[in-house]
Subunit: 718 residues, 2 copies
Amino acid sequence: MKKFFFSAALLIASALSMGAVETLNSPDGKLSVNFDLTADGTPTYNLVYNGKEVVATSRLGLELKKGKSLLNDFSLVRTTRSSFDETWEPVWGETATIRNNYNEMAVRLSQPFDGKMREMIIRFRLYNDGVGFRYEWPEQKDFTYFVIKEERTEFAMTGDHTAYWIPGDYDTQEYDYTVCRLSEIRKDMPKVLNPDNASTSVFSPTGVQTALQIKTVDGVYLNIHEAACINYATMHLNLDDKNLVFTSWLTPDARGDKGYMMAPCHSPWRTVMVAPTATAVLDSKLILNLNEPCKLKDTSWIHPTKYMGVWWEMITGKSTWSYTDFNAVNLDSIDYKRAKPNGRHAANNDNVKRYIDFASAHGFDQLLVEGWNIGWEDWIGFEKDYVFDFVTPNPDFDIAMLNNYAHSKGIKLMMHHETSGSLRNYERHMEAAYSLMNKYGYDAVKSGYVGNILPRGEYHYGQWANNHYLYAIEQAAEHHIMVNAHEATRPTGLCRTYPNLVGNESARGTEYQAFGGTMPHHVTILPFTRLQGGPMDYTPGIFCMDLSKVASDNSSKVNSTLCNQLALYVTMYSPLQMAADLPENYERYMDAFQFIKDVAVDWSDSRYLAAEPGEYIVAARKEKGGERWFVGGVTNGDARTLPVAFDFLDAGKKYVATVYADAKDADYQTAPEKYVITKGLVTSKDAVKLFMARGGGFAISLVPAGEADKKLKRLKIK
Amino acid sequence: MKKFFFSAALLIASALSMGAVETLNSPDGKLSVNFDLTADGTPTYNLVYNGKEVVATSRLGLELKKGKSLLNDFSLVRTTRSSFDETWEPVWGETATIRNNYNEMAVRLSQPFDGKMREMIIRFRLYNDGVGFRYEWPEQKDFTYFVIKEERTEFAMTGDHTAYWIPGDYDTQEYDYTVCRLSEIRKDMPKVLNPDNASTSVFSPTGVQTALQIKTVDGVYLNIHEAACINYATMHLNLDDKNLVFTSWLTPDARGDKGYMMAPCHSPWRTVMVAPTATAVLDSKLILNLNEPCKLKDTSWIHPTKYMGVWWEMITGKSTWSYTDFNAVNLDSIDYKRAKPNGRHAANNDNVKRYIDFASAHGFDQLLVEGWNIGWEDWIGFEKDYVFDFVTPNPDFDIAMLNNYAHSKGIKLMMHHETSGSLRNYERHMEAAYSLMNKYGYDAVKSGYVGNILPRGEYHYGQWANNHYLYAIEQAAEHHIMVNAHEATRPTGLCRTYPNLVGNESARGTEYQAFGGTMPHHVTILPFTRLQGGPMDYTPGIFCMDLSKVASDNSSKVNSTLCNQLALYVTMYSPLQMAADLPENYERYMDAFQFIKDVAVDWSDSRYLAAEPGEYIVAARKEKGGERWFVGGVTNGDARTLPVAFDFLDAGKKYVATVYADAKDADYQTAPEKYVITKGLVTSKDAVKLFMARGGGFAISLVPAGEADKKLKRLKIK
């Protein structure tokens, strides 16, 4: 391993200037970043933690499409330093308050070009748990418009660390994770790229996505990501696996360009989290803190939401989104008098009412209904431009009646806007679509971007599409609509600034359990990676793991125990939580379903009790506006027993603990639905050991004990 | 020449099948089209006029991006024939009624592919003055979505004819015309392509645009164009100059694809006009007839319009569109408190009021004001996305006051929406922009698409942009707004279906007289080419030909006499006519300006009295709803004297003729503003001979004589 470190360091060191290094320390002094210019004026930085380099000297800069690039020939103009410390309250979140405390250093550089001078600032913000830095181009006379050919930000690794990665891809993140050494990524890449479903948007045999979780050979946890990606392409990382240097790799546009910029402007923050433990990674608010404060004046209409959906029956193949079996639909001329209903359309009045009845009876806030609108017959695979109008229901979906019915039962319907990636078409209909939602009382939309992006040639993660996603969020805010965008770019903490962005998918979600399955370790990695940028609409809560029982043609098995599914409501933080399975499947296990009914979706406090990426996570959270706590634990493909100490509870107070645990013979492959529920009293001094089967987990609810609970015994796990 | 004909014919003939040819004759029997399949199942056609081929056997078909193409292996399923004859009334036009009379033949073909069968119809409509044919893909089980790699429609010429052409270009038509033999196009192409301002969108050394005017070696006038181009890329023609065969060449998208299709659908009509005389070409309504009838239920709000504009002073460089001299403007954050006005902004309250006063005093309907809105500082050259918001006036333009002022004077302001080609941005702001127009009483917009198209990589004439232009027209119609779109794709007669499309530029307009000049023959060719698809906002009426008198830095000379400028109001048909020069320039020649004040902009009848493309055009038109006639004549760079017989006038009726003619010593280069006005009585039996200087012309108004005119003498031209 030493070989790698040596060669990477040598590469840069030879060009290092003798000039004074500009150093910035974190508030606790444990982390420092050193900025320097090499002899040829190339900006560099390294990152030192507890006296040891965690990111070796790495170059900074950008290659431009035209003329001289922003790579070297820079001189230092001046360095400006400041400090910041505030505590802010998110509209929703894992904790009621978040401390934002950093030291800042802005390095102003100048560079001659074409007989003129231009300036660029590299701004560093150093937190106790990591660094954020970005490129800024101030307003200046001679440099306004430029086109980025590639950003060349390096992250030089100091050894052959372990990475938890998915392939770099311009269009999808819906991959299983691989855990391997950096030097093994090239070898493992082909195993991840499914040849049957190969994306054409994979750009390199050593390209990976962020947030990239890394565990160093010294046991330090690094996490490379970005924050506040606005009007800029999403960043990937490409590994030089000889020298173990990651370099930024932006998503191109249709012409291969990577960014159209106009000064004054700046890049997103490039972030490197540095943590001594895995739980500290999960605790970090680095990404949120690097985003701008909330831009919405009124956030009273934004609320965490627990919902069910007319969805899983289509995902599994039991039902269809489409109303007919037409080959194709021209929305301008479709005539439903000609249409023979296919008889399998799930979003019909009777079925939706059945779901409304169930969801309202069990205290859910909303019911998502997919397939309510016309156009699903040929929604995917054709790069169709006018694919949906977002306002016309299928003939068997009475939008007024069903919304009235839902409201009469105390719940709302949740809107669904699948766009098929046809961005122009969505924007053309957006105002009418959001207005329709206002008219019928919807206040949340799940949007989707399945398929190639239109305008054709653009990618899901390019500057053009990123601009669209934010436009959709801003327009929705005008209509007091919450957005949960699937297949959009991976989040970078924008939910702080636009808290109506209550969820994203942007990773392999539960649906893949119906598409052949997902590796059990998936949910032990997502909180380290995908969730760093914001909440995921993972859609947990599957209770029937043999999907042939749902849809006879579906041979998939859900690679999870039932208790693992329960635990996800705690381990996978989101203000938007779905109970994804069918009512009839919940009816088989109403005692376990009770946990989903009970669990909160907004929190005043969160504690990660134990974690190791790829292996296990145990989290405890306290509901906002209440005294209940909920605990969740998940494991990977290995069974294990973990201790849970209740020392986070209020001292001297008794709580009724209800523990949902895998049965001793549970196993995600052979007995996924076997569980044991145990109830008993606990205090902050108690601790238990909890078994998790392979692919398993546990969930605990902790409710302050009342008079009626006096006779309960102390919790005892068998 | 025979050599060319022979080789082209041989190429196809060798593959001809022995099968029965399907023949369709025109209503008058003079024109016939013969459809055939070659031995390998390739569809072909030829066109015969008066017993002689005018289009030799030419292949039909399309190359697809994936799988088997639609080029050969076709079998004839059946041929269906019908006839049609109706007379319709355009909302505005050259004539009050238009006869649409054709014989039709639909050839249904089938082709095996991938073990299945698919069908394609080639539909021919044969008029006395030409043919239209298109490809149709009916709804069918096994063939719905396909991507066009290239359309392969041939137009095989029968000799080395004379062509009046501009280079094929995906983004601009603003070229001077070249007149040469087909075999000389390759040689002449580099002369037209200005190396200082080279378009990157020229695709071939023998590529030309439509409408392409051709004069055959036998003296027959052919005109190749297309009609009703909707949701399809604009067609160019590429010449095989060995065999003298033109083949269709569609405008690609950002990925190089040329059309995304979904059956049922069809191509635009491909048209070949065949005319014995040049005036018959100008008389033809072939393109309009091949378009669908008006789709707007209410057209009462659409009206022909004569307007002036705060425009020429910016075009010449006297004034600016922009309010400041900022390098760049961020519309989200621009602060006009910081702005130092540049002092040259034309769209300021005082100046606009001055134009309103002048335009209203002289009977104009509207006043265009460009530069009224913010964003002009960096509107061009940067592929800026958010370049305009279309609703925020510059600080010195009081939108409410100025509209009220104009209305109080009996005229309207005309809106201006420059988009800089940023299509998404325009669509995002379109509803607000049109609503603003409704609020302040605008009912017409001049839109512009200068610069590269965004989404980047798309072209002005591709399917994506074509779809946008029509969207803008449709949305405008919802707001009762008339559209005059500059730099949009060349028109193909859509103004019949959407008569709120009152104008387009889509060719080299008068502005080029301020950018170095335009060849004098230009206006003798445009009616044969650009105007075939619909009216052009050519913006005539320049009275001051030495532009250094308008803007000291401008060394351009207008290559036209003043009378040529007057004639254009008649020879260049448009329901939208501008008087483009400055009030102060008109004030110098108020007697000549009288013609512009008098001339009508909508017509019950039009007669082309004489014409030869590239040389001269003389047209007479009768106003709609009145008895006045107006005559215009233009010549190229040669002086000439042409007879004008007034036999189109009502027999036995006396008319006061006012003749605006070039002075004997007038010349577009040496004495462009010299003219003679002669007044006298004429009847239908009279005729005059009128002189036109080099780059000159004449204009005549003919008003039924009243009591007051009794003493007038008979018209006598000296």
